[in-house]
């Protein structure tokens, strides 16, 4: 199994799907001649040509709308929006059309489109370029929301997204693009949606994360084991919709404690949803209230120290766990 970075694993998924299915085409800002803002589509214009790798104007709503129309008319578009923060410009098309058309049309119209976007802070790009808003998209029925945390997952989930006949919002954490890992080269390697991954088994507390926050959770688990002798189980949700709540509940029934870790804002966020579902289904197993370690409720500052303070760290996770014992 070759080792590669997540950006290369994503590119492999795109390549393989384009080779497999000629209705797959790519469109987005800077994806062609430049190779993509995060170099995910590098070389694909040269390999597949202008018809299948389209540089677009900077026009997020327009691009997503074109993707929807193309999907309605028989193609399988992949639309890249550079960052999730820019996707607000396309929110009407994503929510009012892509998510709703299947229901609204009595199942006549489905929109098999993959919308890729980057999320996450840590690069001093300030408030319009640094947020993680996976939970926002998970709020809308009709969308599927995928947030990989590793190169292998990125490939298996992105390939799976192209086999789905619904719109898939595929969100990549910028801090993960350079991560290395073993990635299967089997062209039929797919990871099903709605299957959380237990990254580390433990008995005392369950740490739940996705995308970038899986890594804070994992580092915290190591610290808890080494420094406190606490055994933490780490669960990577991988997809927020569909959500594999069963795996989380089984874990909480074993450990009796849960901490949810995410970069997104705490107020009204996905951690709140997850916390409520744990409470609804595992209240009697809980030895402590479910804790949420999230981004601070503030637009992301530019300053290095303040940005760091706004994001959840492994120390924050450790602190939250210790407060439960």
């Amino acid at each position: 199994m070759p080792e590669m970075r997540m950006r290369d694993a994503l590119r492999e998924a795109l390549r393989e799907e384009m080779l497999r299915d000629e209705t797959v085409f790519l469109m987005g800002e800077d994806i062609g001649a430049y190779g993509g803002s995060y170099a995910v589509t590098k070389g694909l214009l040269e390999e597949f040509g202008e018809e299948r790798v389209k540089d677009t104007p900077i026009a997020e709503s327009g691009i997503v709308g074109v993707g929807i129309g193309a999907a309605m008319a028989g193609l399988r578009p992949m639309v890249e929006l550079m960052t999730i923060n820019f996707s607000f410009l396309a929110l009407d098309q994503i929510v009012n059309s892509a998510a709703k058309l299947y229901h609204m049309s009595n199942g006549q119209i489905n929109v098999p489109m993959v919308v890729r976007m980057a999320s996450g802070g840590g690069s001093q790009l300030a408030a319009t370029h640094s947020h993680s808003l996976e939970g926002l998209y998970a709020h809308f029925p009709g969308l599927k929301v995928v947030c990989p945390s590793s190169p292998a997952d990125a490939k298996g989930l992105l390939k799976r997204a192209f086999r789905d006949d619904n719109t898939v919002i595929f969100i990549e954490h910028t801090a993960n693009y350079g991560l290395k890992g073993d990635v299967p080269d089997d062209p039929d390697f797919l990871i099903e949606f709605g299957q959380a991954n237990v990254l580390r088994e433990g008995s005392d507390v369950t740490l739940v994360g996705y995308s970038g926050s899986v890594h804070q959770a994992t580092r915290a688990a190591v610290m808890l084991q080494e420094q406190e002798g606490i055994s933490a189980e780490v669960i990577d949700l991988r997809t927020l919709r569909p959500l594999d709540i069963d795996t989380v509940i089984r874990s909480v029934q074993k450990t009796n404690r849960a901490v949810i870790v995410e970069d997104d804002w705490k107020f009204g966020g996905f951690a709140g949803e997850l916390s409520a579902q744990i409470m609804e289904r595992a209240f009697d197993w809980l030895d402590a209230p479910v804790a949420r370690v999230c981004g601070k409720d503030v637009p992301m500052p530019y300053n290095r120290n303040l940005e760091f303070a706004a994001l959840p760290s492994e120390e924050d996770v450790v602190e939250a766990v210790l407060a439960m014992f």
């Binding site: 709503s61 709308g65 074109v66 009012n96 299947y102 049309s105 086999r163």
Partner: protein, 327 residues
Amino acid sequence: MDISNDTLLDLHHRMVRIRLFEEEAGKLQESGKVPGALHLYVGEEAVAAGVMSHLSAEDQITSTHRGHGHLVAKGGDLRKMYAELYGRSTGYCKGKGGSMHISDLDLGMLGANGIVGAGPPIAIGAAFSNKYRGTDRVTICFFGDGASNEGTFHEAANMAALFKLPVVFVCENNGFGEFTSQARHQAIKDVADRAAGYGMPGIITDGMDVLAVYEAAGEAIARARRGAGPSLLECKTYRFFDHVGVRGMGVVYREDAEVLEWRKRDPITLFESRLEEMGLLTTEAAAQVRERILFEIREAIAFAEASPFPAEGALMEDIYTVRGAAR
């Protein structure tokens, strides 16, 4: 213009079918039988008829919130349309979409749209697909003067020209964006002026004259079909009824005199006079056309009223498709 007698009579038939469908729909709403918001197309029939006459079921259209006329002109099933307005399970969308969201993929009708300006990018996507797959299909994007102020229209126009796509933007300039007159919502008089900014032709035509629309649309559609790129066709027309519902007269946002002036150029009356001059239609024949269509409409309304509402189990259906999930 080379146009057969059959086509002339077909244009007339399409217009009358729209008019009667809408008048009956308006009555049903006023009597409380049909709920929701109806944006009726009365007064603008020449546009839908003149454009749709050039299309096959393979050609697509994106419609607007004022979309009944487009679907009727494209050959929509009146039974399914009325059933949709009634919210019944036999409607085009099982009554889940309602007036503003009727679609019929088999007829290439990609959907009425409750969001002003949401249609243009979708039309461009369909046109992209048509070109990508090497077909000679065209896509018509209907939009209004109001939507021409939305960013999505401009984004779509730019991409259509940039990618040289087989699409025709048909602006139904009825002088109002909802309840606000054109003079109060944009500084230009001709939406067609905007075409130049994107490097495509902008043509203005009389939207009350079905033959003018037919001719101008024919050229724009032929241009798109032969791969020469998009164009913008602005049809100057008028909404006889209100933005929503029927009334339209004695309202605060426009003068009755203006409405009466436009009604003198009723597209159906104008065309009927023309057909009579040409010896193709008599008063009696026109009355027979109306009677036949009214018969169809009455039957469609009876069908809708006899149809059941969807079972409650339908509520959570069709949120996600599982078609091809494991391909």
